[in-house]
Amino acid sequence: MLTKRLIACFDVIDGRVTKAQQFQDNIDVAPAAALAQRLYADQIDEIVFYDITASSERRQIDLDTVREVAEHVFVPFTVGGGIRDLDDMFLVLKAGAEKISIDSMAVRNPDIIRAGAEAFGNQCIVLSTQVKRVGVSPDLPSGYEVFIDGARTATGLDAIEWVKRGADLGAGEIVVNSIDCDGTAAGYDLGITRSVVDAVTVPVIASGGAGTIDHIAEGLTGGGASAAIISSILYSPRLERNLGVAELKAGLADRGVHMRPWIQPA
């Protein structure tokens, strides 16, 4: 039986992992490669890496840091941030990533989803979305709007319409990142997560807001997500206490969530 996944999220600035709150006020955590090694040794299921300033600084993604992380991580590794075209995707894959996350650039040029999926396969293209609760209106029937550029720019796109289109264009996974919940440690936005799960047939990943084991379990059960992106709970200096992967997995197993078991190192 396929297990649910725990994905550690790295928001990277200048080769270092940082932690934001509602996409702002990033504080420093650790060098990306060192944190990646620690989490791999702790048996995290997957790592996603966002070069969060590449897009706004209109520069190429930090390939050196991508490579440094890839050299130490033998679980799946997704990379995003500032990816503009197929050449950028190719460079990131050659640096050792196996999945590409696209977000703002996909909204500006949806065809990049189709082109990426055609060149590298659907499984390679992860459509990441930043969604915000704005209330139901004729243009936004789901009540959630897609934002881009680090949650700064409203797009007028309805969240559900957008993820359906992304999946149709070839995205192999969809990340639902709640702007309202990001970094709050108050729980995922289960409503929009569930709506996306019901709207597409590809795996959906819950993101933004997990602060406790209960939150993660809710995202993976009631929220219906295939995987949970976590960061605060693993390493946010804002939390009084962080948890390791072993503790998270034991807690999730207690709550009936089927996970890859954590194995006591020999």
Partner: protein, 214 residues
């Protein structure tokens, strides 16, 4: 006086093509301290004594890439005639069969069988960690924990004509063949290079594998 010895050929060739993920496999082999080199031409293949065909993406695109680099006859010679140990990964498992429902292209046809799409009863692609139930002792799985979890990303799965070609099975919508072992030809549907320590141990076993059963 200095005596220089001719350089020994690198042990493992990792087939490199545009849609592949050869870098991830190279990083994993480097972590294990194994000597490996990228292979992108027929000439490169002569210099290696075992070969890994990694793969992501579509079977037809993979076979197309191999044909474009004129690797298909060279791989056949080294793997089927010279019988060097071969390990296909993910799409590298699917292309060794005869054909795939994914596209019109013929696959390599080294192992009788076809590649089918998962039924729509579960989310497709399958993405994540799933249990690999090994059906018989084999040098490649030596030292493994019982039925470990490995990382899969696939929309298609192989159906070998001979059930004994399957070294392991996994459940997703159906029970499918997740590892193949026929003589010196072996393959994993999961990403051995991305399956944590279990996957690394399989790659380490491959480096010393003679190409037979236990």
């Amino acid at each position: 006086m200095r005596i220089t010895f001719p350089r020994l050929p690198p042990l493992i060739g990792v087939v490199d093509y545009r849609a592949g993920n050869a870098p991830s496999v190279m990083f994993a082999l480097a972590r294990l301290g194994l000597d490996a080199t990228l292979v992108s031409t027929a000439e490169d293949l002569v210099a290696v004594d075992r070969v890994i065909l990694p793969g992501v993406g579509a079977a037809a695109a993979t076979v197309g890439s191999l044909e474009d680099s004129r690797l298909v006859p060279a791989l056949r010679t080294r793997v089927l005639d010279d019988a060097i140990p071969f390990l296909g990964i993910c799409i590298g498992l699917q292309v060794i069969f005869e054909r795939s429902e994914e596209g019109p292209a013929q696959c390599l046809g080294w192992v009788p069988g076809i590649v089918r799409r998962f039924p729509a009863t579960d989310r497709v692609p399958q993405i994540g960690w799933n249990r690999v139930a090994v059906t018989r002792p084999h040098p490649l799985t030596s030292g493994w924990p019982v039925d470990p979890y490995c990382y899969f990303v696939n929309s298609y799965y192989a159906v070998p004509s001979d059930p004994h070609a399957a070294l392991a099975t996994t459940d997703y919508s159906t029970t499918f063949c997740s590892m193949v072992a026929v003589g010196n030809v072996a393959a994993t549907q999961f990403h051995a290079e991305k399956s944590g320590e279990v996957g690394l141990s399989l790659l380490a076993n491959f480096a010393t594998w003679g190409g037979g059963e236990c």
